[in-house]
Amino acid sequence: MTEAFLNEIEIAAARAFLDKALEAGAQKCRVTLSKSVMDLIGVLDGQVDKITHSMDRSVTLALYADGKFGTFSTNKLEEGVQEFVEKALETVRMMAPDACRDLPAPNRTEKGYGDLKVCDTAAYEAMTMELRRKKALEGSVFGSHPDIISEEAEYSDTLTDVCILDSNGTFCRQSEATFDFANEITVRDADAKVSAYWWDSARTADGLDTAAVGQEALRGALEKRNARACKGGKMAMVADRECAARLLAPVLSAMNGFSIQQNNSFLADKLGKKIFPDFLDVTDLPREAGAYGSRLFDSEGVATRNLPLIEKGVLKNWFVNTYIANKMNITPTVDDASRPVVASTVDKDCKQLLQACLDGLAGGDKGTVVVTGFNGGNCNSATGDFSFGVEGFYHGPEGSFPVREMVMTGNMLELWNNLVAVGNDARPCKPRVVPSLVFKDVDFSS
């Protein structure tokens, strides 16, 4: 197998860290060994501008000694293991005791080297520098339109291999390969310029259509010309499939056990309550073969499983690791979302949903903003209050035109309760499976 995979020597080195930690006096220990190899070809204005080859390996130790805890990492696998472990243990023993720190129970952890069909070894090994150059250059559209000022594109393929060992006997491992291409096009816009970005990812190089990515980036840039702000006020919003996951992210973050335990979550007292619309279902589906975001285990080695997050509008679960579970005396789940899927409510994609808005489903008399990208902003994790810069397109009484320099503001719970429909067009290359979303009564400022 390719050098990109963990080899027996590296896995033996990880075991050596574990053994030496226990010999040196740790009662428990977890070792995470990871390796990642990436080759990248950068293209500027139709020519190769950058070639990068990178390989990373590291070992991370979670050490438990005398009721105390610490985490340590190094990328020096072959030398100074004894000294590293001894110094780490010395540091752990200077911490305050914390009885809640523990490894996950053995019956919760994943076992063995699993296969979720996310690593096509043959496809990865077939890649050569020449094929990479070819793939990168095929995605270039520089010169295909007179208004293109600049094009910056990147092809890359990456193989990651991770294994976790702990002193309870856990050994689990997963490998993943991805083939990615991104292109950013800048075009003339009267006496100014405007840019657009598009990307895609596939499990094989053949499955990656770099030319289509270039075309999509160019189309996006040309469509954004002559943008301006429309009048502000409450309007309907379609968050398209490329950016809709940004609106789910604060909700997932608020479901994190650490935020809950620290009183820093707007979902802290909402478990089991109906706080979203009846028709909203969000489920973590981490074991779909070949899918982005699929994983067999979390950062503690805990085996993933399907987990309802929001069911018929009711908040069903938080993300709770072993430590937070012990601290809050609740049942652990996994440390974070793997592949959250927002269930479609209609048989419509973004364009059809937009038409539905214009037909009166949610548009009201002020119009609809189709948001295609967010420009900065934030969400207050304690209250759910948010404010994001947006760009996209306006359709309504003022006409139809691209918009920029606008801000949407609100509260996450209120926003999601104004959800009208969920499309069916989620991009398969994204780990958060969020189709186009339609909301009513969203506050826009301009």
């Binding site: 610490g70 985490t71 990328n75 911490m95 009183n263 900065g376 934030n378 801000v407």
Partner: protein, 484 residues
């Protein structure tokens, strides 16, 4: 801190001949320039949570990045081992950019007039901008933890509504050694210490969160009583107002930026668009504007790597070019972009010491250091007093910019409505959006109170690097404010 050359050669287990051999391999397929960046970083942290310092650790990152340039094109690879075979393999990978090319014609060397040799001498400890008085590496964690307990104690006294405190002390020492095909050798140890605290307060009905931090290129001597006092006060500053804060009616309005952290406006709205990789690629909204007036003549904007102990300070950048104070806008005229060696070659000028990287894993690119606007002549009181209806902002978090369009955004954690020249209703959690060149042109008053903020700012353009920012009180005539 700058130690003896041999100290660094020993850490990386290399000698002069090894360095020359690697450069020869990196340039072996037609490269016109090559450089090596060795790094040994140890990052440590301690976290106080729920009343005790019960977690922490350290993290070692070691390796060498090898870069080959063919004109403006880059080949890059790195090795996490400094064993000769591993380094040679990385050098060979980097050299691939030159495959099939003929050297000389695209040289960036001195004789082509673009990049003079800048720093042939040894690093000078007497000119060090971050001498380490107390080495982090020699401190015991239980001693350092006392700072966190002290901070917690002061916070508990300062505001009884606090329900959660999380404080983190982190520190890092990075030994770096650089060598290039000009024969320039640089070495130093870069320290960084950061003390940060987040608090959650409750009045029984509502929750409010707040965050404060300080970060310096210093040893543990930065951990003074005064620092702890300052952070404790800042973390609970204006809390009564934060509980009362609401959102204003949104729209376009005058915005008064408070002195200090409002420098994020400069960083996002202008600074990124002055980074010359964007100029080289034709992407910046400021392309073609060099030498032209872009704002009022009382505005001078600087990017400065020379402030001793500052988070953005450098003795030399990650290409071995001496750090400097670069005046980007002088009396309203755009005078310089921020260059690394590649963009300097492309624009036929000298590098400005802005070639920076997150670690040996990344090739350097133009990045800001400490970016600030110099003081003007107005007082903050007069500036606020001149606004009939607008917003005063004094606490920020993340910002972002679209380089091509110049549209920028930043998030306001707290501020006040200005009505008839007075601060009235507290506001929070709003986003402000504008356009860089237009906002520059709309600056109508510059205060006499410039401050470089000492918070733990980190810029995330492709790679994370520590920076700082600053500004005096400034009035911008019309920005879009998010609101109800």
């Amino acid at each position: 801190m700058i130690q003896d050359k041999q100290y660094y050669l020993d850490i990386f287990k290399v000698g002069q001949q090894d360095l020359d051999n690697l450069i020869a391999i990196a340039m072996g397929r037609g490269g016109s320039y090559a450089d090596l960046f060795f790094e040994n970083s140890v990052y440590s942290d301690l976290m106080l949570r729920d009343g005790k310092v019960a977690s922490g650790g350290f993290h070692i990152d070691y390796g060498v990045g090898i870069r080959t340039l063919c004109g403006e094109k880059t080949g890059y690879a790195y090795s996490e081992s400094t064993q000769p075979a591993a380094m040679k393999a990385a050098a060979a990978s980097a050299s691939a950019i030159g495959e099939g090319r003929i050297r000389v014609s695209d040289s960036i060397a001195e004789e082509n007039g673009y990049v003079p040799r800048l720093y042939k001498g040894r690093p000078n400890p007497a000119a060090d901008r971050y001498p380490i008085i107390s080495d982090w590496a020699k401190e015991k964690p239980e001693q350092l933890a006392k700072t966190l307990y002290k901070l917690e104690e002061k916070l508990r006294v300062a505001d009884s509504r606090i329900v959660k405190i999380m404080a983190v002390l982190s520190w890092q020492n990075s030994d770096v050694l650089m060598y290039n095909s000009f024969g320039e050798l640089k070495y130093e140890t870069r320290p960084m210490g950061t003390l940060a605290v987040s608090v959650i307060l409750s009045d029984g009905k509502n929750l409010v969160n707040s965050h404060a931090s300080r970060s310096f290129r210093m040893g543990s001597e930065m951990l003074t009583e005064a620092l702890v006092d300052t952070l404790a006060k800042e973390a609970v500053k204006n809390m009564d107002d934060k509980f009362k804060a609401g959102r204003p009616k949104g729209g376009k309005m005058p915005v008064v930026m408070g002195a200090g952290a409002s420098g994020i406006l400069l960083h996002e709205a202008m600074g990124h668009a002055f980074e010359a990789d964007f100029i080289r690629k034709g992407q910046s909204v400021f392309n073609g504007m060099l030498g032209k007036r872009i704002c009022a003549d009382d505005i001078t904007i600087v990017d400065d790597g020379t402030i001793r102990g500052n988070r953005g300070a450098l003795n030399f950048d990650d290409e071995g070019v001496p750090a400097q104070r670069t005046v980007m806008v002088e009396n309203g005229v755009l005078t310089s972009f921020l260059h690394d060696r590649i963009s300097a070659r492309a624009l036929q000028t000298q590098p400005t010491g802005n070639g920076r990287r997150e670690s040996f894993r990344y090739a350097p690119i133009p990045r800001m250091r400490a970016t600030y606007m110099e003081s003007g002549s107005s007082t903050a009181q007069d500036i606020i007093g001149s606004v009939k209806k607008g917003i005063y902002v004094d606490e920020f978090s993340n910002g972002q910019v679209k380089i091509g369009e110049g549209d920028f955004t930043f998030y306001v954690k707290s501020g006040y409505l200005i009505e008839n020249g007075r601060l009235t209703m507290p506001v929070k959690d709003i986003n402000i959006i504008g356009n860089g060149p237009r906002a520059l042109g709309q600056i109508k008053a510059v205060g006499n109170d410039a401050i470089v903020d000492e918070g733990a700012w980190t810029c995330g353009k492709e790679q994370s690097v520590p920076v700082s920012c600053g500004i005096p009180t400034v009035l911008v005539e019309g920005l879009t404010v998010g609101g109800e």
